[in-house]
Structures are given as structure tokens and as C-alpha cells.
């Protein structure tokens, strides 16, 4: 049974979810626009500076923070964008749920790994595998 219909400006409001995901995807994309310019300029800066140069760059707190924000926002955006693509082409409920679950897991793991490595680089931790 569906809830009673709600109206906004005399237009029926959707009974389903989806608008929230759309808005989050757009906000993430908006945040990524200046970050993409920053990534491009960073690529110019870091090309050919060597291991020590890159570590010095990560030792700057602003650089490390922006890198972590970029990684988390991008993989969040990617999971939603892939969801849109999958929902356009995959229509069997089982396959769709399986793919969306896999996409979310992959994006979550990549975001977590990014933050893990960025924190290690920013704090100048000993090279991995540490303690072996």
C-alpha cells in the first residue's frame, strides 16, 4: 500500500526515492570540478620530482587533506554514477542488486585504501609492508 499522495505546486511528489541520490550526485560533481583543476595542476607539479619530492608534497597538510577529500568524494560520486548506468541497462532484480552491491564494495574499499595510504604518506610512516 502506498502512502497518501503529496503535492508540491499542484504537482504530485514522487512516492519513490531517487531524488536524494540525484542531488547528492550533483553536489559531489560540483565539489569535484575545482578539485579536478587542482589534480591537473598537481600532476604538472609532481611529474618528475621523485619519491622524496612527492613525500615532501604529501607532508603539507593542505595537500594531503585535499587529496583525501578528492578520493572520498570521487569514489562516492563514482558509485552513484555507476548506479545510474547499471540501472539503465540491467533490469533483472537479482543481477542489478548484485552489481550495485559489488560497485559499492569496490568504491568503498578504494576510498578507504586512498585515505589509509594518504595518511601514511602525510605522517611520514615507514615504508610498507611495515613491521615485516
Amino acid at each position: 500500500m502506498s502512502a497518501p499522495a503529496r503535492f508540491k505546486n499542484r504537482v504530485k511528489v514522487s512516492e519513490r526515492h531517487g531524488a536524494g541520490e540525484w542531488a547528492i550526485e550533483k553536489v559531489a560533481l560540483l565539489i569535484l570540478m575545482p578539485l579536478a583543476v587542482w589534480v591537473a595542476s598537481t600532476a604538472l607539479t609532481l611529474t618528475g620530482v621523485g619519491h622524496a619530492g612527492v613525500l615532501a608534497w604529501f607532508a603539507n597538510g593542505l595537500n594531503a587533506t585535499l587529496a583525501a577529500i578528492t578520493a572520498v568524494v570521487f569514489f562516492g560520486f563514482a558509485s552513484l554514477a555507476w548506479k545510474v548506468i547499471v540501472e539503465d541497462y540491467i533490469h533483472r532484480p537479482g543481477n542489478k542488486a548484485l552489481l550495485l552491491g559489488l560497485i559499492n564494495i569496490v568504491c568503498l574499499v578504494l576510498a578507504a585504501a586512498s585515505v589509509f595510504f594518504i595518511v601514511r604518506l602525510a605522517t611520514g610512516s615507514v615504508p610498507l609492508p611495515a613491521g615485516v
Binding site: K26, L32, M33, A36, T47, G48, G50, I85, L110, F117
Partner: protein, 154 residues
């Protein structure tokens, strides 16, 4: 001889509910697809954005791999840097910068269109042309700067 089935191809495996029985008795999709529409630059921009998002995800995964190598010390990084400086490595690098600029310009186009702006035919065409061709221009400038500054050489 039996008459051919009116249901053929994709219609037999319809997952979408798009297929309907037309007045001539044949089952055909309700809406036409890419092979029916006259090609337009807005379609190219839209398709390229999807391709870009897929490629950007792969590129981001490669960047996470780069972080892992950096965190594994100077020796591992030197090995990766040698790979990246090879012709194949440069090709991948050029591809990734194209993806980055395509993401930037197509993302900008999409955000403008999402507000309801830029949807007249001339402005939609203009934004699409920028999103399709801009990445090639920006990628060329990017690598000319890298080669000219001596940071990259063949």
C-alpha cells in the same frame, strides 16, 4: 512453411517492458535507439561522459595503486617511475589526462544543463562541442607544457 514469429531478437528477451505490439502485428521497441536517431553532437557528449566516468574510475584505481607504491618506499617508486616513463606508460598518462579534462568539461556541461540552463539548441550544441573537443586541446597543452619544461622526455 510457418510464418516468422513477430517476436524476434531483443523482444524475446525483453527486460524493459519497452516492446509493444505495433499495428502491423510485429513486436517492436516503443522508442528508437542509437541506430535510428540522426547523429548529433549532444549524443556524442552524453555517451563520452559515460565512457569518461568508466575510464575515470579505472584511472582513480590506478592512482590508488600509485599511492600504494609511494607508501612502499623509494625502490618500488623507482620501478613504477621507469614504467611510467616508457612509451606505453606515456600513452597511458596521456589517456588519463584526456579522461581528467573530459570529466571536467563534461561534468561542467552536465551541471549547467542540470540547472535548466543551456538547453536551447545553439547553447546545447556549443556546450557539447566544448565537452567533446576541449579535452583534446587541453591534453595537448598539458603535455606540451610537460615536454617543454623538460619534466618529461622521450
Amino acid at each position: 512453411m510457418s510464418s516468422p514469429s513477430p517476436v524476434s531478437g531483443d523482444a524475446r528477451d525483453d527486460q524493459t517492458g519497452r516492446f509493444v505490439r505495433q499495428p502491423n502485428g510485429r513486436v517492436r521497441p516503443l522508442s528508437p535507439h542509437l541506430q535510428i536517431w540522426r547523429w548529433h553532437i549532444t549524443m556524442t557528449a552524453s555517451i563520452l561522459f559515460r565512457v569518461t566516468i568508466g575510464a575515470a574510475t579505472v584511472g582513480a584505481a590506478m592512482l590508488v595503486g600509485w599511492l600504494a607504491v609511494l607508501a612502499s618506499g623509494p625502490d618500488a617508486h623507482a620501478a613504477l617511475a621507469a614504467c611510467a616513463a616508457s612509451p606505453l606508460g606515456l600513452l597511458v598518462g596521456i589517456g588519463l589526462t584526456w579522461v581528467l579534462f573530459s570529466f571536467l568539461l563534461n561534468g561542467g556541461r552536465h551541471l549547467i544543463n542540470d540547472t535548466g540552463a543551456g538547453l536551447t539548441v545553439p547553447s546545447a550544441n556549443l556546450l557539447s562541442h566544448i565537452a567533446v573537443w576541449g579535452p583534446f586541446v587541453l591534453t595537448a597543452i598539458f603535455w606540451i607544457v610537460l615536454f617543454a619544461s623538460g619534466k618529461v622526455s622521450l
